[in-house]
């Protein structure tokens, strides 16, 4: 299968005076259409890794290749467009825009790409919201729904542009186990139907076990890399 993403000897050091190395010589690659999970203790460097994969953060040294292309050679606008079209983010904290409604938040990545929203697109957004069980609150402001609903809104937002890759940082952290199960089934379905690549950080062992591959990070190093 094609490698959609490749990390070569990636190091991440925080701080300039007091150096705090968080990632050590990470070599990883992800295949297109695969469903991957990343596990590890709190503070082990999972979010840092995911942010580097998502081009939000820069590695201190080493290369990040997207479909064979080094991101160091891409301009700020190219990176922004790449994030918009190719990646769907679900962050550890929901990060919705409080000034906009649930539906408007879901449509935002599409708006960034196209400026205007078509009727079809609104219908698609509404369907996606139905899929995550939010059709009743779609016109609420993003601040006027529960934490779990916010997290589900963020998932719907990540799906709207049909991205090649979804990066999720504990997307079900705020959800009860039933909802967690539902959401994972949903993500899995999307993965199978659209061949979307998933990289999901999770604490939930049961969820990790459902993935095609489990990568365990320990103190900034890859401790385990299990494929089914």
């Amino acid at each position: 299968m094609n490698k959609i993403l490749e990390l070569n000897n990636v190091n991440k050091i925080y701080g300039t005076e007091i150096k705090n190395q968080v990632l050590y010589d990470i070599n990883l690659s992800f295949e297109e259409g695969s469903f991957n999970s990343i596990i590890g203790q709190s503070g082990s460097g999972k979010s840092t890794l995911l942010n580097i994969i998502g081009t939000l953060d820069k590695a201190t040294s080493g290369d990040v290749l997207i479909e064979g292309k080094d991101i160091k050679c891409m301009s700020a606008n190219q990176l922004a467009d790449y994030r918009n079209r190719t990646i769907g983010f679900v962050f550890q904290f929901h990060y919705l825009l409080p000034e906009f409604t649930v539906l408007e938040n879901v449509l935002m990545p599409y708006r960034i790409q196209n400026g205007k929203v078509t009727r079809d697109m609104i219908r698609k957004a509404e369907e996606t919201l139905k899929l995550v069980g939010l059709d009743k609150v779609k016109d609420n402001l993003a601040t006027k729904i529960s934490g779990g609903q916010q997290q589900r809104t963020a998932i719907a937002r990540a799906l709207i542009n049909n991205p090649k890759m979804i990066l999720a940082d504990e997307p079900t952290g705020n959800l009860d186990s039933d909802s967690t199960e539902t959401i994972y089934d949903l993500l899995r379905n999307i993965n199978e139907e659209y061949k979307t690549t998933f990289i999901i950080i999770t604490h939930d062992k049961r969820i990790a076990e459902k993935a095609d591959r489990i990568v365990e990070i320990k103190d900034g190093r890859i401790n385990l890399d299990l494929r089914k």
């Binding site: 942010n51 700020a76 922004a80 000034e99 400026g115």
Partner: protein
């Protein structure tokens, strides 16, 4: 850009109190500017009107000793067609003489006018307090000071003696009041024909007097130059009011400069106000900007958000400010009245100036938004994502 506008509107709407406060701040700045501008312009206009409103603004005289301009008819015709801003052209035959009545004698400037033309400049008809204007030969209109000094009455006969000792008896047909005592006690107005006859100057005049439209008052010197060039007569002398009123002009200029200073400082304080509030907005909205950037909004689009915020604030501030400013100005002219019903302060409502103030406020607001806009584009999304 559309997205930038959309987000800008939403940000402004979600923070109504703050938005209203900035709009109000801009509005007050704009209205102060409009009020002060209208006030200063009104004062200046009043002053200029009083000084030169009823006098010749450009005067053509003969450069030669004998002070006579012959063939003046074509000259007048030509001057009339030179510039659209020339509003009145009047010929006159001015001569120094003596006025004798009842054993009294004093010097008198006898001005022979074509009364209709001269009225365009001097408002002669409106200034006649008693009697009528000279129409026939040897009729004369005198100032009310002479009437009081010599106990003159209408239809009295006075004697005009020229410097060559030629005496002519004239009939007093009326009295005028120009509200200037040197004129009221020194001028005698008669027809051009009578003056030409008395002073033996048939077919010639001593000066052509010209007024320009209000809009051109301060460019009278340019018009004078145009007249000079187009009549191209070395033997004629052309003077304009600006040469003759230098101290008034420098006074007006000082006033204008201080008015500009006030306006500039008002605008600067408005700009600083907007810039500082928008700078705070960037910090308030940094989380949103970070999220949008993570989702792939371009740096240029985040700049648009704040530029549009500046523009919208400026636009509404300007509209409100113009309404305030006009309201304030109109209230002053309508309600602050002298006992005789004239306004205490004569404001000059100049719509193009008001529009300009509004446009400047909008431009200033957009400029003030520039710093926050640039700041927003420098924001790094990871700082927001990492720090929650």
């Amino acid at each position: 850009m559309i997205l930038g506008l959309r987000i800008a509107i939403r940000f402004l709407k979600s923070n109504k109190g703050q938005t209203l406060l900035i709009v109000l701040g801009i509005a007050i700045g704009v209205s102060v500017q409009i009020f002060i501008g209208s006030l200063i312009q009104g004062l200046q206009k009043g002053l200029v009107e009083k000084t030169i409103g009823n006098s010749s603004q450009i005067t053509i005289t003969s450069g030669k000793d004998e002070n006579k301009i012959k063939d003046y008819e074509q000259l007048v015709e030509k001057v009339n067609s030179i510039d659209v801003n020339i509003s009145a052209v009047s010929v006159s035959s001015d001569n120094a003489a003596f006025l004798e009545y009842n054993g009294n004698s004093q010097s008198l400037l006898v001005r022979g006018f074509k009364i209709d033309q001269a009225d365009d400049i001097y408002d002669i008809y409106d200034r006649i307090t008693e009697g009528s204007y000279p129409q026939n030969e040897n009729e004369i209109l005198l100032g009310i000071d002479l009437k009081e000094n010599y106990d003159l009455n209408i239809n009295d006969k006075v004697v005009i003696t020229t410097t060559k000792q030629k005496m002519t008896e004239c009939k007093v047909v009326g009295f005028f009041d120009f509200k200037v005592s040197s004129i009221n006690s020194n001028w005698g107005i008669t027809t051009l024909e009578t003056a030409q006859k008395i002073f033996e100057a048939e077919g010639s005049i001593t000066s052509i007097e010209i007024q320009v439209t209000d809009a051109a008052v301060f460019t009278t010197d340019d018009i004078a130059t145009v007249i000079k060039d187009s009549i191209n007569r070395q033997d004629l002398k052309i003077v304009h009011w600006k040469e003759q009123n230098e101290s008034l002009l420098s006074g007006l200029q000082g006033q204008s400069i201080s008015s500009y200073m006030i306006q500039v400082f008002v605008m600067i304080s408005v700009i600083l106000g907007i810039a500082s509030v928008l700078a705070i907005t960037v910090i308030q909205k940094s989380k949103q900007i970070g999220i949008l950037k993570a989702m792939g909004i371009r740096n240029s689009s985040t700049r648009y958000i704040f530029l549009f915020e500046g523009f919208i604030l400026g636009l509404f501030g300007a509209i409100l400010g113009i309404l305030f400013g006009l309201g304030l100005s109109l209230a002053f002219t309508k309600f602050a009245l002298n006992p005789d019903g004239t306004p205490v302060i004569n404001l000059y409502i100049n719509y193009s100036f008001i529009l300009l103030s509004g446009i400047i406020a909008i431009i200033a607001s957009v400029l003030a938004a520039l710093i926050p806009a640039v700041r927003s584009s420098r924001l790094n999304p990871i700082d927001i994502i990492r720090n929650n």
